[in-house]
């Protein structure tokens, strides 16, 4: 049984909607700028990939806006697009329609604002808890579209979105659902969240005066990741059902693999990354030398990009130098639980259009990063097998394999 992607929606720092996002991505547009949403003058990292044009009142009532955190609002907007793109799922029984969503932090914007009020001995908004809870976005998507089947939320830090999409694949294969709305959402360009990552020395701090150059995966001079936000949503269905209802099919989701480092709570480990990629390839029933393209996790941290490079070499051997790799985060920053959903959309668009978006800010590569990362300019290349990587805190590694139909 094959599982196919029949709809996509995205809210990102370089565009709302797949067309706007992809046009910006293939043109190497950066969505990184000085933080607008709060006074960041006390932060070490004062830049982020924010979605400044986003207005939830355009698609939610005033009451719904009050009852939802920003991560849910981003997810709902992407889900609206994806559902429209798929032409709706009215052919299916509501109890057979599932949601599988990823978010690393959940409603942390509400958590921070409510905690601030509580510490000032003020009352907090009555919808604080249902806004904060990690499954809020999945529940709202279900409610908006009447999706009455399985409703799951995966929270595995930076790999949340990939695991959520993988779980959706498993739901379809196991017969627990006929169609799944899946992806990831995150909205954590926030003072406490960013201070937390700053304390780990994980964020870029040397490019506050030149934000567009800050997120520079694989490049010399990179000094940490740039916080981002966004949401990416896919509609997955069984191929035969999608054909029956005449749906447009972008690609096949052919494989999902995950593996835990079980070594360190935050430091990446090559073996776990190799294991996840290998598991995804095995699950897809292909050979490693069939991989044409990898949408790398590539957050722009000094250590992480080298380890992922080594993991790809370990997995593919000589073939590692023959494939194209690119880092979507060079343009949008790191949107944690949404990042792999956004990376998956980039991977699917590469399969669908034959264009691979560039890794920007890659003028001089780190000597330890010596693969083809598609520096600075998009390339035309027929891609039949694309893999999207996501590696999260907790040693949580997940990879997805998409193929042409």
């Amino acid at each position: 049984m094959r599982v196919v992607v029949t709809g996509m929606g995205i809210v990102s720092p370089i565009g709302i909607g797949v067309d706007q996002f992809w046009n910006a991505a293939i043109n190497g547009v950066s969505g990184i700028s000085s933080i607008q949403s709060f006074d960041a003058s006390n932060q070490h990292s004062r830049i982020a990939g924010e979605i400044n044009e986003f207005n939830p009142a355009c698609f939610l009532s005033a009451k719904q806006v009050t009852q939802t955190d920003r991560f849910t609002q981003l997810a709902l907007h992407a889900a609206n697009q994806a559902m429209a793109d798929a032409g709706g799922l009215d052919n299916y029984q509501p109890r057979r329609l599932a949601v599988s969503l990823g978010s690393g932090m959940g409603g942390f914007s509400t958590f921070e604002s409510s905690a601030t009020r509580k510490l000032q001995n003020k009352s907090i908004p009555p919808f604080s808890v249902p806004r904060i809870m990690a499954n809020s976005a999945a529940a709202w998507i279900a409610t908006q579209f009447g999706l009455k089947g399985v409703n799951l939320t995966c929270s595995t830090a930076c790999s949340s979105g990939a695991n959520a999409i993988g779980m959706a694949l498993d739901l379809l294969r196991s017969g627990k659902a006929d169609a799944v709305v899946t992806g990831g959402a995150e909205a954590c360009v926030l003072p406490l969240t960013m201070t937390g990552f700053e304390a780990l020395q994980a964020l870029s701090i040397n490019f506050n005066a030149d934000p567009v150059r800050a997120s520079r995966p694989f490049a010399q001079g990179r000094d940490g990741f740039v916080m981002g936000e966004g949401a990416g949503i896919l509609i997955l269905e069984k191929e035969e059902e999608a054909i029956k209802r005449g749906a447009r099919m972008y690609a096949q989701l052919a494989g999902y693999g995950c593996a835990c480092d079980a070594t360190h709570i935050v430091a990446p480990d090559m073996d776990g990354q190799v294991a996840a990629m290998q598991a995804a390839i095995d699950d897809a029933g292909i050979m490693p030398d069939q991989v044409d393209y990898i949408n790398a996790h590539a957050t722009s941290t000094p250590l992480g990009d080298v380890i992922e490079t080594n993991a790809i070499k370990q997995l593919l051997g000589e073939h590692a130098w023959e494939i194209a790799i690119s880092a979507t985060k060079s343009m949008v920053g790191h949107s944690i639980g949404a990042s792999a959903a956004i990376g998956s959309i980039a991977t699917i668009m590469s399969l669908h259009t034959g264009t691979i978006h560039p890794t920007i800010n890659l003028d001089v590569a780190d000597p330890q990063c010596d693969l083809n990362y598609t520096p600075n300019r998009a390339i035309q290349k027929k891609v039949q097998v694309g893999m999207c990587n996501a590696f999260g805190f907790g040693g949580n590694n997940a990879s997805l394999v998409f193929t042409t139909l």
């Binding site: 009451k63 009852q67 009352s123 009555p126």
Partner: protein
């Protein structure tokens, strides 16, 4: 603020939060439930009213507020808080 002025302001405030009710149709006797506020809408209304009127809606007594008049009465009996 005298009581008549307070009544007008509370009614206008509630009308601004109600989805389908005009201020001219709201009186002191109007029950919040009849204006479209379920129990969760009511706690949200009271939370928003804290900012608007500088009063903390807190404690057991708040759970008994059912009508527009109840809210006006509560505000008159509780002085504005410094933190609001």
């Amino acid at each position: 603020m005298d009581i008549a002025e307070l009544e007008t302001k509370v009614i206008e405030f509630i009308a601004s939060k109600a989805e389908k009710v005009d201020a001219s149709n709201i009186t002191n006797a109007s029950r919040l439930e009849d204006l479209g506020f379920d129990s969760l809408d009511t706690v949200q209304l009271l939370f928003d009213a804290e900012e608007a009127f500088g009063v903390n809606f807190d404690g057991e007594e708040v759970r008994g507020l059912r009508s527009v008049g109840d809210i006006i009465d509560y505000i008159t009996r509780h002085p504005p808080t410094a933190s609001s």
